[in-house]
């Protein structure tokens, strides 16, 4: 592997670490900041790849990630965080145990994918064998787990953005899809976050309801 490959591996690892950071937070504003860092890391990877591959598409992709995910989505979420401290703190969350379960979930999920799916599918990434895909996959599972383990609308939106970030990373390492598609996906996700942020005002937390049982 070239030094640049090592650098991308290292930066991608930071994307996974940012996922753990988000999972470990109880304050919404910290989670939003974690999402900003994560999106910026992915934008950075896109810029590095754009530089070494002389790809305008990857450069545009990096700009899109930085602007739409890093700036606009963070802006929308940040604007919706209520001013009063009691609202931004997600109570009844045992962060330590959630982190452990999250880790177990990721390890089991990735073990299954690598031992069953990837052994028969001959996936070749830009960085050789499929080992680098462990980073987007772990991010994907972290996003799913965040959605499943938290009750607040904010946390679940951030979980969804994490999932989307993981797909960008997955495509970056495997094969970047045409920029027109990627741009449409980004706009879709942005619109969904805007719609969700409208609902945040009306409904901050989610609990089982008798009317929706069965």
């Amino acid at each position: 592997m070239s030094p640049i490959d090592y650098a991308v591996f290292l930066i991608a690892a930071f994307a996974t670490i940012s996922g753990f950071y988000i999972q470990g937070q109880e304050y919404i504003s910290s989670m939003v900041k974690g999402q900003l860092v994560q999106s910026s890391i992915i934008a950075l990877i896109s810029f590095i790849l754009a530089y070494y591959e002389h790809s305008i598409d990857l450069l545009i992709l990096g700009i899109l990630i930085a602007f739409l995910r890093g700036f606009l989505i963070t802006y929308f979420l940040d604007k919706r965080v209520p001013g009063r401290m009691t609202y931004v703190y997600e109570s009844n969350v045992n962060v330590a145990s959630l982190l452990l379960i999250d880790l177990a979930f990721i390890v089991v999920g990735i073990f299954i994918i690598y031992s069953i799916v990837f052994t028969s599918a001959d996936l070749v990434t830009k960085f050789g064998p499929s080992s680098i895909l462990v980073f987007p996959l772990s991010l994907f599972f972290q996003g799913l787990f965040l959605i499943g383990s938290r009750r607040s609308t904010f946390s679940q939106i951030i979980g969804y953005i994490e999932e989307e970030n993981s797909l960008v990373l997955f495509a970056l390492f495997l094969v970047p899809v045409p920029i027109i598609i990627e741009a449409s996906v980004f706009l879709d996700v942005l619109a969904l976050v805007v719609i969700s942020s409208i609902l945040v005002i009306e409904k901050f937390r989610h609990y089982p309801m008798e009317e929706l049982r069965g």
């Binding site: 028969s120 679940q156 969804y160 797909l167 899809v177 598609i181 879709d188 969700s196 929706l212 069965g214």
Partner: protein, 445 residues
């Protein structure tokens, strides 16, 4: 490039220009035009290029435009009478038009990536429609719809990436006419698509948003969800399945989902939730037909067309009852046949239609799918499906006949156009069935 598909996509959006003038009327005019254009499109088939439209796509286009027209007309009275509105009347029609445009987009695009974008856009445009009748429950149902469907459909994008990785293109026509592939990567893509798009189709166990969203949405929107949104997602899933069929996986998931839906149906206490589970059952039966291939595809198409009108009729009828009684429980509705003759008729006809009673079109569709199961030697699946179809038939019709004929009530029809549209929508599956059984099947297919 043929301009008609483009016009079909744009027309609902164009109606939104009249937002401040008369968006209701503009929506109805645009819906009528899309029906006419969709029907006319048959003479231009097949279309390739920017759009990919064959006979299968055409069936879906006609279905979407027709239910869009019925729902728009039904909404006139229904939305007008809502007291605690979460969104304004004009915003309701605006979103309904965008929602329909995004479904048209998903159907006609000749690109798997854009199909995914279209499906995601249907979630965005329809989410706020769920809070038209604002309550704490509808807000919760809306949120579940957004987060579960979006998180699920994200899986499907992995399929899109894998398809692009293998073929180097996302062009639907090119991929489907590339001569097939036995690649493991594509098998994985097809399998992942079942989880991803399956979330929107209502495949067990990723169906959980479905009963909540259907029961809390205003009835014309429930009709659009059940009648056309889920079939559109199924269409996209089928287009991916066609690349490299994986019948064992798809048929078994469909069979398990039918069984689950049938079991859920047995203990439902609310009529709109009951119809939602009936939709899950019908969608998975159509998926079963598509997965079997051959005659199963024809059966699935017939089932979907008849079901779209039948289920729309069922939800319109439910809307009439809800408006009149303000009650959602099956047990609280009794003997409506005296005071609500149109609604009773439409409710009975539509419940018979969605449970596949002869001679409705759904029956013909189900019969052909089961025939395809026998022909392909899927005997075990055939037996399981047949058993659970009968169980679902009993569950739905027992409750509905009870609501109509058992006891008495002083409920009255809620308006003039709502009951008539319910009845029209419920009669269409009967006409389809009678026409096909009457010998026009070969002409149509």
């Amino acid at each position: 490039m043929d301009p008609i598909p483009l016009i079909i996509i744009i027309l609902p959006g164009l109606a939104n220009i009249f937002y401040r003038v008369n968006i209701k009327l503009a929506g109805a005019v645009s819906a009528s035009l899309t029906v006419a254009l969709s029907l006319f499109l048959y003479t231009q088939l097949p279309l390739t290029g920017l759009f990919y439209i064959d006979r299968i796509t055409w069936v879906f286009l006609v279905m979407v435009s027709s239910v869009y027209l019925l729902s728009t007309l039904y909404s006139w009275e229904y939305v007008n009478s809502i007291r605690n509105r979460g969104i304004s009347q004009n915003n309701y029609y605006l979103l309904l038009n965008f929602f329909t445009a995004s479904m048209f987009f998903s159907l006609v695009m000749n690109n798997y990536g854009f199909m995914w974008v279209g499906i995601e856009a249907t979630t965005i445009s329809s989410a706020l429609l769920l809070v038209t009748e604002k309550s704490d429950v509808s807000l919760e149902a809306t949120w579940r719809y957004i987060i579960l469907v979006s998180a699920g459909v994200t899986f499907a994008f992995i399929s899109v990436i894998l398809i692009y990785y293998h073929f180097g293109t996302l062009d639907v026509y090119t991929i489907l006419h590339s001569g097939g592939t036995a690649s493991v990567v594509i098998k994985i893509a097809v399998a992942v698509a079942l989880v991803g798009f399956g979330t929107k189709v209502g495949v067990f166990p990723v169906h959980t948003w479905l009963p909540d969203a259907h029961s809390e949405a205003p009835s014309p929107v429930s009709a659009m969800f059940s009648g056309v949104l889920l079939p559109v997602a199924l269409y996209v899933l089928y287009r991916i399945y066609e690349i490299s069929p994986f019948p064992q996986l798809y048929t078994w998931f469909a069979v398990i989902s039918i069984a689950a839906a049938s079991l859920f149906l047995a203990y439902q206490r609310k009529y709109k939730r009951m119809f939602a589970y009936s939709t899950m059952e019908n969608m998975n039966l159509a998926l079963f037909g598509f997965a079997l291939g051959g005659a199963g595809v024809i059966g699935a198409l017939l089932l979907l067309v008849s079901h779209s009108f039948g289920k729309a009729g069922a939800f319109y009828s439910s809307g009439n009852i809800l408006k009149s009684s303000e009650k959602r429980d099956i047990a609280q509705i009794k003997g409506i046949w005296k005071g609500m003759p149109y609604t009773s008729s439409s409710l009975l006809l539509s419940s018979l239609a969605v449970t596949g009673t002869p001679p409705f079109g759904t029956f013909v569709g189900e019969f052909i799918i089961l025939y395809a199961a026998v022909v392909t030697h899927a005997f075990l699946q055939f037996g399981i499906v047949l058993f659970f179809l009968m169980a679902a038939f009993i569950s739905v019709n027992y409750n509905i006949t009870g609501m109509i004929f058992r006891g008495s009530s002083d409920l009255k029809e809620p308006g003039k156009t709502m009951p008539i549209i319910s009845l029209i929508s419920s009669i269409i599956p009967l006409i389809i069935g009678v026409v096909i059984i009457g010998g026009f099947f070969n002409v149509l297919v």
